[in-house]
């Protein structure tokens, strides 16, 4: 079960759109920004 972390595994996500881990992390951050923005818009729209 134990493994050595290889360079290829560190770099490749084997995902269709986000092929590298930095791209996945950027997507996560973008999602966070989107949620905060939507929350702010929701409060402003209905306040």
């Amino acid at each position: 079960m134990a493994e050595r972390v290889t360079d290829s595994e560190n770099k490749a996500t084997r995902l269709p759109v986000f092929r590298t881990w930095p791209a996945v992390y950027a997507f996560v951050v973008a999602t966070f920004v989107l949620w905060v923005t939507l929350l702010a818009i929701l409060a402003r729209t209905f306040s």
Partner: protein, 572 residues
């Protein structure tokens, strides 16, 4: 609850638990017991990480938070995505490379034996307390509302979790959590749509948002820098980052979940699944609470949602005063409802000046009713000093029992119990693993067989389960339950995280420095907790910063460490 509800409840709960035992029968190695089969996919890891964190308290208490305070609590989770990224980049590859069984084994590898023991002890202390709260919290609410016996509720739910965790270990936890979280999602989404459908026909979802926004329940982001406020964007991002980094990165109940992944990729994707889904999930549960708030603007709410406590208080000398306040509250709620209906009707006619005046009238009426409710809570506390004046945890379950059809009532009660079992099992699994690996195998018996350690691990898992049941049987809590869990975590997590950050990033600091720095920092955090009135989220930052700075200062005083840090990799 009728027969249909009981059938839904018992078949689902016992069926999943039984499947967990059957599906993981015949485990013969400690490694499999601690990590599962080693073939877990990212989706199962993601659901398992989510189910471990989302206990019954999440689903009972968070809607109550939404009802009382709106969406602001969602900011508590703003640090989670960043924390999960850091864990994915830094923590996870090292854990997997060192092939550790517990997170604290890494501290031993990097520092020394005493630092490993301190990390494990702090975990066992705070998670042991947390395990008691996890089982007590839903039991107290369900027993009060359903009329079940509290002790039997605690013992029953505790024994089911013990049974399949002791039998199947980590694999059983992962297997059952997958189905438990599915039941939870189905139940919560169904409850949300039924709730919205029960709003008056001319209000609808959009009108509900208008009411909620007008009465300040939709403010999900607060950018102010007031450290006294419990939830702001900054306390959420910074304090929440440290809390999440500590919880997901150093708490064995979570580390054990993602170390069961088939590969680094599966573990990472499981964490990223949570990084993306955590905020929307909490938002959804809080929004359910906000919809409950709107629902009770049109349907007369009880003045105090814990009706058992209220009825007991009525029987005291203060009964007359309380009943008078209840009548006053009922009248004010009716006025609020009339004002809201008028405001919505004027809003539909696009007459903004008159609509604004009507809204101000509705806000004033609502404020008056809340003042009466607050007065009633104070009167209840005076009449019954041992009773809790916080009834937020009872809001959702009161709605379920009063307004949902049979079958769905059973499903929602199943949701609470499934969530209890999922988080409870993960905690027991982690407590048993840490006790076996970091204490028993490390200190007591170093050269025993694998079968011996497997037996010991099962014994310690059962032992912690019984300790949690005993703690829950004698527990007594005043805080809103979900906050109680986070407060206990925040007191201890910061220092543990500090130890791990020193281990990862400050390689010139040795075990002796970090050991004493952690003890002093923990003592200081406890002193601060009882003396400085700041948001509890900040204790994560303070504890961590203290531990790191004190470690550095101590190491400078002690001089350079005389050996290279151990980077041992266990045989595969």
């Amino acid at each position: 609850m009728n027969g249909v509800d009981w059938a839904v409840l018992l078949i689902t709960i016992l069926g999943i638990a039984g499947y967990g035992i059957w599906g993981t029968r015949g485990q013969r190695s400690l490694r499999t017991f601690l990590h599962g089969s080693g073939e877990t996919s990212w989706m199962v890891i993601g659901l398992s990480v989510m189910a471990t964190q989302a206990s019954a308290i999440t689903f009972l208490s968070t809607p109550g938070q939404g009802y009382e305070s709106g969406l602001g609590f969602v900011q508590n989770y703003f640090g989670a995505p960043f924390a999960l990224i850091i864990i994915s980049v830094v923590f996870l590859p090292i854990y997997r490379r060192l092939n550790v069984d517990t997170a604290y084994e890494f501290l031993g590898s990097r520092f020394d034996s005493k630092t490993r023991l301190l990390g494990a002890a702090l975990f066992l202390l705070q998670r042991g307390l947390g395990a008691g709260i996890t089982i007590y919290a839903p039991a107290i609410v369900l027993s009060t509302v359903m009329g079940w016996r509290l002790d039997l509720t605690i013992i029953g739910s505790g024994l089911v979790a013990i049974a399949y965790t002791v039998s199947g270990g980590s694999a059983a936890v992962n297997l059952t959590q997958k189905y438990q979280i599915c039941v939870i999602f189905i139940g919560m989404i169904t409850a949300f749509f039924v709730l919205v459908s029960k709003l008056p026909g001319d209000v609808g979802f959009s009108g509900a948002l208008t009411v909620a926004g007008g009465l300040n329940k939709l403010e999900g982001v607060d950018f102010s820098f007031d450290v006294g406020k419990r939830y702001t964007f900054w306390s959420g991002v910074l304090g929440g980052l440290f809390l999440a980094l500590s919880y997901f990165g150093t708490d064995q109940s979570q580390v054990q979940r993602y170390l069961s992944g088939a590969s680094l990729r599966e573990s990472r994707l499981g964490l990223m699944f949570n990084a993306v889904c955590k905020i929307p999930m909490q938002f959804f549960i809080l929004l359910l609470g906000v919809m409950l708030f709107v629902f009770y603007q049109f349907e007369p709410p009880p003045i105090f949602f814990n009706q058992t406590s209220w009825n007991n208080a009525i029987a005291t000398e203060s009964g007359g005063q309380l009943q008078s306040l209840a009548r006053q509250y009922e009248s004010e709620c009716a006025s609020t409802k009339t004002a809201i209906i008028r405001w919505l009707a004027l809003g539909h006619r696009n007459n903004s000046v008159v609509a604004d005046a009507a809204r101000a009238e509705a806000q004033a009426a609502y404020k008056q009713s809340q003042a009466t409710r607050a007065e009633a809570k104070r009167a209840l506390s005076t009449a019954m000093p041992r009773a809790f004046s916080n009834d937020a945890d009872y809001v959702f379950v009161t709605f379920i029992l009063g307004h949902l059809p049979h079958g769905l009532v059973g499903l929602l009660i199943t949701v609470f119990l499934a969530a209890t079992l999922s988080s409870k099992a993960a905690e027991l699994n982690a407590l048993g693993s840490t006790t076996t690996v970091d204490l028993y195998r490390h200190i007591v018996t170093r050269q025993a067989t694998d079968a011996h350690y497997l037996k010991a691990s099962r014994f310690f898992t059962a032992m912690w389960g019984l300790i949690a049941i005993c703690f829950a049987l004698f527990a007594n809590m005043a805080e809103n339950l979900i906050q109680a869990v986070n407060i206990v975590g925040s007191i201890f997590y910061g220092v543990v995280l500090g130890m791990f950050l020193v281990a990862f990033f400050l390689r010139w600091i040795g075990g002796t420095a970090v050991f004493y720095a952690a003890i002093v920092s923990q003592a200081m955090v406890l002193v601060f907790y009882f003396t400085i009135p700041i948001s509890y989220l900040w204790y994560n930052v303070i504890g961590c910063a203290l531990c790191v700075v004190l470690s550095a200062c101590l190491q400078l005083g002690l001089g350079p460490i005389d050996r290279e840090p151990t980077r041992g990799v266990k045989p595969t």
